[in-house]
Subunit: 248 residues, 2 copies
């Protein structure tokens, strides 16, 4: 049995993209670390520091924030349970991006870099799986650039909800048409590059067009195909469909 059940969705996600041996899976499931809880607006890691641990999301949601000199913020990535939200810090430990909780209660598991580096050195299959995970994250980032750069506010918002729905479903946290999103509108606005007021308008429009309803923190999609069509959503970039080659 694993000391931290929260590792299971993480290892499952890695296994869906990369082939891992029984051995390798056990090594990962046996990782140890320190649990920690964070409230929104508290930095998990602070830009400028050097990190020496990776954060596995246990419960709640987190996001990576960019900040402009004038204080406006832009979310560049949203992380859900099972995501190792700064796996990339293994390669670039100098923190350039703040990591914060989105939900009111975020629980993470801090896994020391030292331990992770030991493992990736000893098990090339794990190294490959982690490298591939970083690449898949970058693929999502590319899609975000397209989304923010070229889609209008409604389509853009619909696209984000499609992405989150699919990721939540894959992580075993509800279905793409019904999942919990512990996030307020101004945080969505920060993720989509718009103002909170406009975000509110768009949520109303989505509701009126019967594409999406949010009641409390619960997202309800009446007709997934309609939403995906409105968003121009193509899930290929999430790289959750197939298993890819391994190095050795």
């Amino acid at each position: 049995m694993s000391r931290h059940p929260a590792l299971q969705p993480f290892v499952r996600k890695l296994s869906e993209r990369s082939h891992l041996s029984e051995d390798e899976r056990h090594i990962l499931l046996d990782l140890d670390g320190q649990k920690a809880e964070f409230a929104p607006h508290r930095d998990i890691v602070r830009p400028g520091e050097l990190t020496d641990f990776c954060c596995l999301i246990v419960s709640g949601m987190a996001a990576r924030f960019g900040q402009l000199p004038d204080g406006t913020r832009q979310i560049t990535a949203v992380y859900i349970p099972g995501d190792m939200c700064d796996l990339y810090s293994l390669m670039l430990p100098k923190v350039e991006w703040a990591l914060q909780a989105l939900s009111s209660r975020l629980v993470i598991l801090k896994v020391p870099h030292r331990k992770m580096l030991e493992i990736v050195r000893a098990y090339p299959g794990i190294a490959e799986a982690c490298w591939r995970d970083c690449v898949a994250d970058a693929s999502i980032l590319s899609q975000w650039v397209v989304n923010i750069g070229r889609r209008d506010a409604l389509t853009r918002t619909a696209h984000l909800f499609c992405e989150l729905g699919l990721r939540m479903e894959t992580a075993g946290l509800g279905s793409r048409t019904a999942f919990e999103l512990p996030v307020i509108q101004s945080q969505l606005a920060d993720a989509l590059g718009m103002t909170p007021v406009h975000m509110n308008r768009i949520m109303r429009a989505l509701r009126q067009q019967e594409l999406l309803t949010v009641r409390g923190r619960e997202v309800q999609v009446r007709d997934w195909n309609a939403l995906a069509r409105a968003a121009g959503f193509e899930p290929g970039y999430l790289a959750i469909d197939h298993r890819w080659r391994r190095m050795d």
Copy 2:
């Protein structure tokens, strides 16, 4: 001596971010591949295919394109000589993003995945350097999300020119204040998420504020500090300053 001198800037860039032994450097400099030339609007790799090679930019510029159902395009990454523009395809060979020339004459070196995978398997130091390179690319993507999401058109454009200037200088292709940019305004617009007409307005504004002049394909920056200040440019995200730890 290396069969392909174009490999030298690539290996130099890797060495600036990761420690590589003499051996490892030689292995990389000794890579072989097939040269190819592309004109703009011709796909180097086509979405939907499986790639089996990586592209090293020898001369000219290339970009990664996202496309919406209605045909509008968004550039998600710009690549200059010395960049291995789809190193990530080693991990996710299914092509999700078109890769095209920006400049009229783009020369690339196609290095087979098979060979690259052999090398990263045999030399963990090289694997780490490549992994780190992928992570640095993702860091640039994050900054692009911030840039497109939260900066206004003028600041956004200034920021891109800062980034390109610094990358060109680091690659040994001119200085941050004077470099060649073989790219037309509508391509810049595609990179910055705006329309070509608005791009033109912004270029005029940059000229009038004496921040930037473009004559022919030559970018001229009169006062780098003024441009960087206007852009709110912080170069840390480019990860070109320091050398980081290696795994073994």
